[in-house]
């Protein structure tokens, strides 16, 4: 009969090594995880990345500062607005440019809508990974509305390229604010609908409570940021700690979890969407009149120096480390990719759990391979 060795690579142990990905329905792109299994239990997991490496940081070095912005769209392609926000913020701080308040508020609106859109994708795919199909479609219906708003504002739906050094390239179109308000006003009801489907569902709880637990100390040690860190109970949000744009003027709360498990991270993200709605509503109410672009030189040449500026992306702290030699191109433009660093904790979080939990944990880390591999 057939050769049993083929399916059992370790003849003298019960362990089986299995390669999840790079083409696998639940690895969110091209993540590959080499998993060592003892039956269904995970002995060890080793993420292998780099399948989507495009050398973005190398490309940055040949671009002008504004020309680098479209490339940042393509890192975390589910959250292009926050990516743009980080880069332009870094360069503006380097040059000492103050952004007109209207532009700043527009940025906040775009970024918070983007956070909602990104969390929406996360929710849909995470639920799909755990086996609930329908939330995927419900969430994407809402996301379409956000993308429509983006399309109306900047002409693109996914890779926005919607911010420039010194302000915003366009003002809001006629009626945009009203349409945005309509969207954010109806959105909490939709969140409640999804929560009715999942939050108290006993199967959902069985699959998420106590899965992928990471303690607060461990989370800091592994450098987690964003919802994974907050889910572990660390009150840490760049928007509060180092407020950029006008985040110090709007009211919002930072949801934190208590147990550091997948369920807490789920609750944190759901609450973050509501807080984002709050922020957008306040921004729309406060939106000042005025120009959207500061006076910036045609060729952007930051002074010699280095700066690190980070924004709270949907996935965590998204940092840009810009080194300028005084020229029109960045000498070095490094990105602190939140997903890359969050993914590093994957083996820690899944060790000793079951195969199904691996999928849940990959989902809860909310990784985007475009940003991990850059």
């Amino acid at each position: 009969m057939g050769d049993i060795e083929a399916v059992k690579p370790f003849p003298d142990s019960e362990e089986m090594e299995i390669s999840f990905g790079p083409q696998h329905p639940a690895t969110h792109g091209v993540l590959r995880v080499m998993v060592k299994l003892d039956g269904e239990r995970i002995v060890d997991a080793k993420p292998i990345i780099g399948y989507l490496h495009r050398g973005t940081e190398k490309i940055f070095e040949r671009e002008t500062y504004n020309g680098a912005i479209p490339h940042t769209d393509r890192m975390d392609y589910t959250a292009a607005a926050t990516n743009n926000q980080g880069l332009v913020g870094a360069v503006e701080r380097m040059m000492g440019i103050t952004v007109p308040p209207r532009a700043s508020y527009i940025r906040m609106i775009l970024a918070e809508l983007q956070r909602i859109a990104s969390h929406i994708i996360w929710l849909g795919t995470h639920a799909l990974d755990i086996g609930a199909q329908s939330p995927f479609f419900y969430t994407f219906e809402e996301r379409e509305k956000i993308l429509d708003l983006y399309e109306e504002y900047c002409g693109a739906r996914l890779t926005l390229n919607a911010m420039r050094v010194g302000g915003q390239p366009y003002d809001l179109p006629e009626g945009w604010a009203a349409r945005c308000k309509t969207f954010v006003d109806q959105f909490p009801a939709r969140i409640a609908e999804w929560e009715r489907l999942l939050t108290t569902n006993r199967i959902w709880k069985l699959r998420t409570v106590g899965v992928g637990v990471i303690s607060a100390e461990s989370a800091i040690e592994w450098g987690l940021t964003g919802p994974p860190l907050r889910g572990s109970g660390v009150n840490w949000d760049i928007r509060k700690v180092f407020p950029y744009d006008h985040y110090d003027e709007v009211e919002f709360e930072i949801p934190i979890g208590a147990h550091g498990d997948t369920y807490d991270r789920y609750l944190v993200r759901m609450e973050e969407m509501r807080q984002s709605v709050r922020i957008v509503q306040q921004c729309l109410a406060r939106l000042p009149e005025g120009p959207v672009m500061a006076k910036v030189p045609k060729v952007i040449k930051p002074p010699k120096g280095e700066i690190y500026f980070s924004v709270e992306g949907p996935k965590g702290e998204l940092g840009y480390y810009v080194v300028s030699d005084g020229g029109a191109n960045p000498y070095r433009l490094h990105v602190r990719p939140s997903c890359f660093i969050n993914l590093q904790a994957l083996p820690e979080m899944v060790r000793g759990q079951l195969v199904a939990d691996l999928i849940a944990v990959i989902g809860t880390l909310d990784i985007v391979l475009g940003e991990i591999d850059r």
Binding site: P70, E151, A156, L197
Partner: protein
């Protein structure tokens, strides 16, 4: 555990609640758009296929410089032209090619264009830009950028030949219909 807590843990109320949510969606209006028959109209600012106007172009190369991935290729030469009796040197466009297959539709070329109205724009409200062959069909020279031969027309698409301006309020083809 109290009696009601126990009962709630045994009777799957929340599962029924979930079934209720999906059951309600069963009767809701569907979000599907039957694409080839029904076509969504892009918004005013939608960045689609390029439009180009040779008359407006002053051959300043700004777009080519602004392009992050260098897909705009421009060649020019100087020509003596008689303008109002004076002899002037004028730049004349030899070649204006866009390698659209690599384009990422960031719109920086349109922003960089100094002429008013701009000589290159992406707000043509077209999105059916796919082609079967990438090297020939997606490499646009200046004639093709202006004429758009062979582009399938759908309501709302405005070819450069129709003379649409990027910020033309009439949009060249009237009000969009959905």
């Amino acid at each position: 555990m109290s009696f009601w807590g126990f009962l709630a843990s045994v009777v799957p109320v929340e599962l029924a609640q979930g079934l209720g949510v999906t059951g309600r969606f069963f009767f809701k209006r569907k979000a599907t758009i039957q694409y080839p028959e029904v076509k969504l109209l892009p918004k005013e600012r939608f960045r689609g296929m390029f439009g180009f106007s040779e008359e407006r172009c002053i051959v300043c190369h700004s777009c080519a410089k602004a392009c992050p991935i260098d897909i705009i290729h421009i060649a020019d030469h100087f020509e003596e032209v008689e303008v109002e009796g004076k002899k002037r040197k004028k730049k004349v466009l030899d070649r204006y090619d866009i390698d659209v297959k690599r384009c990422m539709f960031c719109g920086l070329c349109e922003e960089a264009c100094p002429t008013k109205p701009v000589a290159i724009w992406l707000t043509t409200r077209s999105y059916e830009t796919a082609a079967y062959e990438r090297n020939e069909h997606l490499y646009f020279n200046k004639e093709r950028l202006q004429s758009w031969d062979g582009v399938r027309a759908y309501p709302g698409v405005v070819t450069p030949a129709k003379g649409q301006m990027p910020n033309d309020p009439t949009g060249g083809s009237g009000e969009p219909e959905r």
